[in-house]
Symmetry: C2
Subunit: 207 residues, 2 copies
DNA sequence: GAAATAAAAGGAGGATGCCTCCAGATAAAT
DNA sequence: ATTTATCTGGAGGCATCCTCCTTTTATTTC
């Protein structure tokens, strides 16, 4: 399923199957506005954090507030739609790192990349907050991607016996993401790197 | 100085010095309302998080919204006033732990206590966010207390050579506090304990 | 004790944000 | 060209924020 998102990928099949109610092509203006809103929201969120006014986003995008709500019934739906790409990209990086680096190093690099994403997006932090906090159903699929990624890397490193970890790896992400929402931007980037090193050292020491 | 707080401790001296404009005793109702508001806000914040409506707090306290704003010009001022006690208590615990435990253990215990405070207050998290994030001038003195506390404990443990730490200890608090604002409540309590153990192990390994 | 005065109380009001709802506009289907 | 499902845009109800200013009240002065 697609969460609360409105777009559905393939309607053509349905039209062929049985004689269900006639399915018509989605209107062009709808899709256009949907993309326009996401684009606008992305920049506004990046500027003002993900608590920016939805009415302002609609205003800047040049559409009515009703249009925004039609496409994205909740703030979460909008935020989620925006960052779905980023999330997928992050998850993909885990795969790629796993294939090209030794387990522990892959984990370390991915954690660094995770923090970079969170910091640079500045607004993604709140997203990941909810994502990783599991408060919103909407993020379920994105959350699964991230959880899968971190578990993959940790499991690999644990399998070789290089590290031990007696906790949910997700909680490490919570700390790293949480720190970003506290500390202001780029400063956290550096701090998190140090923190990651200490954590890795700590997991090694637990052997 | 007292931040933006309204209360000033001793006015008597001023009355004696020189013949400045006559200074009068602070009005009784003012101080009464100030305390009443803090008491009310404390419970409301505990219930609904620190984003609860200020008008609701005023309503429950039985005073006008104007009165609330007179005493606490900003939301931060109110929140800060409420948690100043808690912060001082936390800082005091550092002293006491330092005197009764070996350095590393004292540090560990204090970090655990820090997390407990943040989690149980549930609303203190946002406080500490800003506190430790340094976004608000209002928190300056409370922040100093916390910073002093953690520095004391870390320095002691570093001095014995038991651990090494190449980063600002404050950033560790940021991670721990940030995690609390992400994860919901008690769950983070446990996770943070594990995290603290790993961090300590990591700092030991850096020796 | 009464008048004067500095300070506090309280709420009306303008601004903004959230979200719902629906009349009118418009793109796809016939 | 007409029909029809879908989309648009904004008015409107409600909540909150914060400011400003009038009225009230505690303290001081006489």
């Amino acid at each position: 399923m697609e969460g609360a998102s409105v777009y559905q990928g393939d309607f053509s099949e349905m039209a062929e199957k049985s004689d269900g109610p006639t399915v018509r092509k989605p209107r062009a203006d709808a899709e256009r506005n949907r993309l326009l809103l996401m684009e606008t929201a992305k920049t506004v969120f990046a500027d003002k954090g993900s608590s920016a006014s939805l009415e302002e986003i609609a205003r800047i995008a040049g559409v009515g507030i009703g249009t925004l709500y039609r496409h994205f019934p909740t703030r979460d739906a909008l935020v989620s739609a925006i960052y779905r790409n980023e999330t997928a990209q992050l998850a993909a990086a885990a795969q790629s790192l796993a294939e090209t680096h030794p387990p522990v190093e892959a984990l370390r690099l991915w954690l660094v990349q995770f923090v970079d994403y969170v910091v640079t997006k500045h607004g993604m932090s709140e997203v990941l907050d909810s994502l990783v906090g599991g408060t919103s159903e909407l993020y379920a699929d994105s959350a699964d991607l991230i959880i899968g990624a971190v578990n993959l890397l940790v499991d690999r490193a644990v399998a070789t016996g290089e590290i031990r970890l007696a906790m949910d790896p997700l909680d490490i992400l919570r700390a790293l993401a949480g720190g970003a929402s506290v500390s202001c931007g780029p400063a956290w980037r550096e701090a998190a790197r140090q923190l990651i090193d200490i954590l890795i050292a700590g997991m090694r020491a637990n052997r």
